[in-house]
Every structure is written in C-alpha cells, then in structure tokens.
Symmetry: none
Subunit: 241 residues, 2 copies
C-alpha cells in the first residue's frame, strides 16, 4: 500500500462548512488525509468546519483549494464521480467495493468527486470522471448525506489498506477433545449418582445427547475448567464464606 493509492477526496462546491468538517472526520477514520475543495460556497477556511471534524483537523489544515474540478484533479489518473442519480452519460458505473479494488490495484493517483449537498454533481462535473461510483441504496428511501457517502467509500477503500480486519484472534482455541471428554465423564458420574440416567434402556442415548451438546460448544480449556468447577459447586455442599 503506497501513499499514491490513497484516493484524494474532492468536494465540489460544498455548501456548509459543517459538512466539510464531517467529511474530514469520515475520511480520517479510514486513514484518508488528502482533501481538495472546489469553490466552496462560503469560502475557505470556514470556521464551521473545525468543530464538526471532531479532531480531524489535520485533514482540514492540509485541504487544498481550487477554482475548478479540472485543476483539482490535474494530477490524478483515475477519477470517480460519486452520484446516486442516473445520467445520460455513457460511462462505467461501479459499486464501492469495485472502485476500491481498482484504486488499490492502480499505481497512479486516484480521486473521488462528491457534489454539493443539495443537488449533487452536475452532468458536466460527472463527465470529467472515468467512472461513476454509486452506493446501492434502498430504492424507496435513498438519503445519503455527504459525509455518509464519503465514509462508505473511505471504508471500502480501507479494506485494502493497513487497517487490519479483525480476525478471530481473540478467540481462545477450542480445548483438546480429551478435556471435553474428561468433563463429560465427571458430569456423567455425578448425574449417575443422582439417578439421572433412567430408564437403563435410554442411558446410552441420553449420554450420546450430552456428548453432542458439550462437544459442539467449542469451549476453550479455560472454559472447560470453569464448567468443571460449576459441576463441582452444584453437587457440593453450600460453602460458607
């Protein structure tokens, strides 16, 4: 993962400083740091941006200001236009995961364009891109705001980065089967003493059921020990403390 493959986030004519801040926060959560602003409505810097960034000030401080999209993407080889509306343009349309795959596979700089909050990108803006990226949303309720669109695309991109996906590493390994058997033998012994296995014709079937129940738990050695302690406690006398 080289820095060059981190996409540049280009906000085109953003309206509210607050939303620029929220977009910065969304970006930094997933390791994106390069924001470019094209003709923000209220100028730049904007005092409303900082408080909404929740600490992602580094993104805002480094944000670059441009008059036009063409200037903002001049050094970018691959440009994606984020949009939900259908267009009259003949252009590839990709989903977030495919866009992320393409960006990660590329060795050139990529950019993702996001339009103004209210109206989104104009057709002329989209025409500057190589492909449209669309987040598939509920056809009966599509209401993604700017920062949400940014965070979903940044999140997909991050899967290719150094933010390791959690694996089941915190899961303790399952105990060796012998430990499970030992616990089952203890349990069977105690249950036998209580007259649990009755009638004798059903004893083996009941024991098979118990073995299945406890074998499927996936308990670790520690958990098997805990269960053995529970069995001892249940059959033992009440302890005074």
């Amino acid at each position: 993962m080289t820095v060059a493959t981190k996409p540049v986030i280009v906000l085109v004519r953003p309206q509210l400083g607050q939303n620029i801040g929220k977009a910065a926060r969304a970006m930094l959560n997933f390791g994106l740091t390069e924001m470019r602003l094209v003709a923000p409505r209220d100028g730049w810097p904007n005092p409303d941006a900082g408080p909404s960034a929740s600490g992602a000030d580094v993104v805002l401080e480094r944000a670059q200001l441009f008059d036009t999209i063409e200037e903002a993407i001049a050094d970018c080889s691959h440009v994606y236009a984020s949009t939900v509306r259908r267009r009259d343009l003949v252009m590839p349309v990709v989903g977030p995961a495919e866009m992320a795959d393409r960006i990660a596979a590329s060795h050139e700089r990529s950019a993702i364009l996001f339009g103004p909050e209210r109206s989104g990108l104009e057709t002329e803006d989209v025409a500057l891109a190589k492909a449209i990226v669309t987040v598939p949303i509920n056809p009966e309720f599509g209401s993604l705001n700017l920062a949400q669109a940014v965070i979903l695309l940044a999140y997909e991109w991050s899967k290719h980065g150094t933010l390791a996906q959690p694996t089941a590493k915190e899961l303790e390994p399952a105990a060796p089967h012998g430990e499970i058997e030992g616990m089952i033998a203890q349990l069977n012994g105690e249950l036998d003493a209580k007259g649990y296995f009755h009638p004798p014709s059903r004893t083996q079937a009941t024991k098979n059921t118990l073995r299945t129940i406890f074998t499927k738990t996936g308990w670790s050695s520690r958990e098997v020990k805990a269960m053995r302690g529970i069995i001892r406690a249940l059959v033992g006398p009440a302890r005074e403390h």
Copy 2:
C-alpha cells in the same frame, strides 16, 4: 432472503433523540426497518428524533421500547455487540463483512447492539452478545459516531440483499436468547445458593464469564432444556428408581 434475516438494530441507552433519528435514516438507506430502544435517556417518543430521520419516520414509528437489553433481544438467536474498545471478555471478534455473512447465512433472528454515544457499551452489555463486531478504523483517529457505525454495518448487511438462494438449514436452529438467559438465571441462582460467587468483588466478572460460555454454545431450544434438566438433577436429591 427472508425478513427474519434482517438484523434488528438495538440502541442501548441512547442519549440524544437526534442521534436516534440519524440512526433510523442510516438503517432505512440500506433497507433495515426494525429498531429497538433500550432505556433511552430522554424517554420515548422523543421529538428530536423525527427531524433528524430525514423521512425515515416509518422506522421511528415502529421502534419498540424496552427496559433491558435482555428483553430487547429475547427473541434473537444471534446477538452482535458493536464496539471499538478492547474487552476483558473472551469472545469472537468479527469485522462488518463477516458479521453480515453470518447474519445472511442464518435463518434465525439476529440483533446488533450499539451503546450510548459517549461511552459505548458496558462490559456487562457486551457479555450478552455472541460476538463482538468491530469496524477497523484508523488506530490514530477512531471517531465513529453512532449513526456512522449503524450505516457501515447496515451497508455491509445490504450487500446480501440479492442473495435469494436459501442456504442449508442447520439441523436445529439456535435457541432465542431469552431461553439462554432463562437457563443462565437458573444456574446463577443455584450457584449463588452454593456460595459459588465469592468474593463479592468478583461476582459480576464471574457472571459475565458464565454468560459468555453459555451464549456461545449455539444450543438449540431442546439442548437448553436438556441443560436445565441437568442443572436440576445436579442440585437435587438422588432419585430412587
């Protein structure tokens, strides 16, 4: 894709009505409609929720109110706790995509727990879940708000929306969480009578461990019943036959 596989979104002690509305909007963008609220700080309904939902009123109108997490997830077989902090619990940790895969592959009802805005889920809350789901974020800047966490998980789930083909049914479905809780309550009661929970300072931690051990089993209703019979047998007098 049956309705049963759509996860229930459980907001645990949410603070601001505004954030409940934003969460509803995030959900509906990706087709999730079932929200449950556990002890919202400012009561329910909350007049601040509607304006933030941006039209996702149907989610708010159908939201169900509960006093405890246990009640809110009583009919859910698979419960995921969304959290970023590391825990002292030994529990599987999965990423959003893996959680979505598991939910989509399951035929029982699933729930995802989200904690209060400021503090997130408490360890006792997390102990009620089968697994932790964590969005991998920038280790140097982790600042996902409630609605963002909801939207990322809802987005991942939505990728399975077109997978219409049914998967192989498990032999027996996992029991609803309420049944597991009933068994745990029975066991805790018996262990308490035996003086098992000692010293008092360790009682909650021990109970959390027990909850994790039994929640992770994936036991069916039949198996939970068998375990309850075992507990009764162990603490009862020896039966003569």
